[in-house]
């Protein structure tokens, strides 16, 4: 079985290096085919691990990594229930996204480079989820950050646009924003890791989690908070959320793979992985759940009125990540993992559908300018509708099973306010999902004004999306097997509510989701483009993302830029540079003055020599006398 672990881990890096060989050459179709094949190999190995390990845990150590003083760390990998579920999810989505990218990037001149980056991302992600210690996790964590930066800024040559102009900013700006925000959070995470090592002397999961009860409560709280700060950055939770919406500047397959299905869920994975720590500090868990519930509603509200096709889905991702954090924070780790998995399937396919629409509309993103695409893009519409139903949480789609469990958990643990927020979020989710579907696919063909001729995506792109759509449809039914599998490792949390309450919750949740859908369908059916709260202050607030980017710019970025300018112009130029310049000037001047010695006149030179000799003699005599 070990060989499957190695294949699953290293096939993506082989794929990346292979594609990297052709990075500067023009498009080569075989690069796309071979990288997709290698990713499929990785997926196959993960599946083999899922079914072949028979619920054993596979632990391998590649070599001794760090040995300094008392600190020993092996470069080890582990395939336990949590990481195998993650591996299967990640490789499934990334294989299909690789196949899809062959279609999406077919006219891009950097086709080969794109595949190199995409595979490198999958490799980093595999390191992140398979590592058996916090340091390896951190390496993967940074690796996905770098790949995300490379991929958001893939079209780095696009010019900067001021913020007021629709859609927004430039890819390189967005890439830098994402990278810098993640650096801030990573510092928190690094402090958390240091605290663990400081107090326990080891970073391996097994050793750390076995000794959690030896730590004082205060230390655990600190560790929990700092690790969560890291998770907040990667999973774009408030207040570090602004980068995710801007990251939509990247190519759409990137948004599907990185900013919906895999990388952004790394924060949730960290909370699940570190569950022995979070289990012993329920108050921090409650904090995490509160942040999650807040973000779930906060992000969903921004999606209600936005007109940018990809940004709506991005906010929806944020909101769903909030749901996962609620589950993780309340101790329902397996539910968080379950929602992570189902969300990866339906959200990635939703993004891929958005990619088809963008191609058809020549990169137009404003959904108000689309409409009536149902006749031109039947399959895309069917797939996106399935994904939206899953997202809204309608039976029997995947989202119903996982999201409902989260609501149940919140209710049964008596966090009624959190439950209420999530319930509200569920309604909003249903509304904005179907607002998107209605505005894009129904109504009148408003796109005719743009002079574009929409067309359905190529067949193999649809075939690549179909498995994900199918999973969005059926993966909820895996629940029983899933629970059985992951609770070998994660704590089983049974919601102890009576069947009456259970049915009540079911009805209430399904009710708000359905009424959200019906409301959206009715509201936008007659080619009506008027949004909720249009013309009011609330609408302005929502469409400007609560003015948070503006506030960040005004109170953080601008003062920081001013400070940097001050440091540059006053401190660096006037003090540091001036000192260095002064030294150089003195030496240069001294040389200029003393070059007359080199007159070429021999007798003058001899005189100087004698003079020097006399001076030295006098110095010797004086020093001897002294």
């Amino acid at each position: 079985m070990e060989k499957y672990l190695y294949i699953a881990l290293f096939a993506p890096i082989v794929s990346s290096l292979f594609a990297g060989l052709f990075a500067t050459s023009p498009k080569k179709q075989f690069v796309g085919v071979i990288t997709s094949g290698l990713l499929a190999l990785s997926w196959f190995s993960s599946i083999r691990l899922l079914f072949g390990l028979h619920e054993k845990v596979l632990h391998v150590k590649l070599f001794e990594w760090i040995s300094a003083g008392n600190f020993h760390l092996d470069f080890g990998f582990v395939a336990d229930q949590t990481s195998i579920i993650m591996m299967v999810t990640v490789t499934t989505v990334s294989t299909l996204v690789h196949v899809y990218s062959n279609y999406y990037m077919e006219h891009d001149k950097s086709f080969n480079r794109f595949f190199s980056y995409l595979s490198a991302f999958v490799f980093s992600m595999m390191i992140l989820i398979m590592s058996d210690n916090f340091l390896g996790l951190f390496i993967g964590w940074e690796g996905v950050g770098v790949c995300s930066w490379l991929l958001i800024g893939f079209w780095y040559h696009k010019a900067d646009q001021p913020r007021e102009v629709y859609p927004s900013i430039s890819p390189s700006w967005a890439a830098n924003e994402a990278f810098i925000m993640n650096r801030i959070a990573d510092l928190g995470m690094l402090i958390g890791i240091f605290l663990i090592y400081w107090n326990l002397g080891s970073l391996e999961y097994d050793k750390v989690f076995a000794n959690v009860d030896k730590l004082s409560h205060g230390t655990l709280v600190l560790i929990g908070i700092f690790l969560f700060i890291g998770a907040m950055g990667k999973s774009a939770q408030f207040p570090l959320h602004t980068w995710l919406a801007d990251a939509m500047e990247g190519p759409t397959p990137v948004s599907a793979l990185i900013h919906a299905a895999t990388m952004v869920t790394a924060g949730v994975y960290l909370v699940i992985r570190a569950f022995p720590i979070y289990e012993s500090i329920p108050e921090i868990g409650y904090l995490i759940a509160s942040v999650g519930a807040f973000v779930a509603v906060f992000a969903a509200s921004m999606a209600l009125v936005n007109n940018d096709l990809k940004k709506i889905i991005a906010y929806s991702t944020l909101s769903q990540l909030g749901y996962m954090f609620v589950a993780g924070g309340l101790g329902a780790y397996w539910i968080a993992l379950f929602h992570l998995m189902t969300h990866a399937f339906f959200k990635s396919v939703l993004f891929l559908g958005a990619g088809n629409v963008m191609h058809a509309m020549h990169d137009e993103l404003n959904i108000k300018k689309m409409g009536a695409l149902e006749h031109k893009m039947k399959w895309t519409m069917i797939i996106m509708t399935v994904a939206s139903l899953a997202l809204a949480g309608i039976w029997p789609f995947a989202g119903f099973f996982s999201k409902d469990k989260i609501l149940e958990t919140a209710f049964s643990s008596h966090h009624y306010f959190l439950w209420f927020l999530l319930w509200l979020g569920a309604g909003m989710t249903a509304f904005y999902s179907f607002r998107l579907v209605m505005l894009v696919f129904k109504g009148e063909p408003r796109y005719k004004k743009l002079g574009v001729h929409p067309h359905e995506a190529k067949n193999y792109a649809i075939y690549a999306m179909a498995p994900l759509a199918l999973l969005a449809l059926v993966s909820g039914f895996f629940e029983h097997g899933f629970v059985h599998y992951v609770t070998k490792m994660l704590p089983e949390l049974e919601a102890d509510i009576g069947s009456g309450t259970f049915i009540f919750l079911l009805v209430v949740t399904l009710g708000i989701a359905l009424s959200g859908i019906v409301f959206a369908v009715k509201k936008y059916s007659n080619n009506n483009l008027k949004d909720l709260f249009e013309g009011t202050f609330i609408h302005k607030l929502l469409i400007n993302q609560y003015y948070i980017p503006v506030l960040y710019e005004k109170y953080i970025t601008d003062p920081y830029a001013k400070l940097s300018n001050f440091a540059w112009e006053k401190v660096d130029m006037k003090i540091v540079d001036a000192t260095v310049d002064l030294i150089a000037t003195i030496i240069y001047g001294a040389g200029d003055k003393s070059k007359v010695i080199q007159s070429g006149n021999l007798s003058k030179n001899l005189k100087l020599m004698v003079f020097g000799l006399v001076v030295l003699l006098v110095a010797v005599v004086i020093s001897q006398l002294g």
């Binding site: 010695i597 080199q598 007159s599 070429g600 007798s603 001899l606």
Partner: protein, 101 residues
């Protein structure tokens, strides 16, 4: 009055200073050679005197080496001097100013 080591050393010093002054003051290359010879021989006298004083032959051996080296130096130097005179018609030191800083 017996002549001791001091007298020899004083003589050597006087000769050395004369040679040094010659090196500094003269501009005629031939006279410059003379001055260097005086410098070298002043040292030779000091070597021989100290060698005798300590009954150690090393100093006298050194004198021989210096005489030999000085002889070859003069041979080469005079050859170059003749060449220089043929080319420039002068052996003035100031005619040798070609390498200026």
């Amino acid at each position: 009055m017996t002549i001791g080591l001091t007298h020899y050393l004083v003589l050597a010093t006087i000769l050395f200073v004369i040679g040094l002054m010659g090196v500094i003051r003269r501009t005629n290359l031939l006279l410059l050679f003379f001055s260097t010879e005086i410098l070298l021989n002043a040292v030779n006298i000091a070597f021989a005197a100290i060698s005798k004083y300590y009954a150690d032959m090393t100093g006298q051996m050194f004198s021989f080496f210096i005489i030999a080296v000085a002889a070859s130096e003069v041979a080469v130097g005079l050859g170059l001097l003749v060449l220089w005179y043929k080319r420039n018609g002068t052996i003035d030191l100031n005619s040798l100013q070609e390498m200026k800083g």
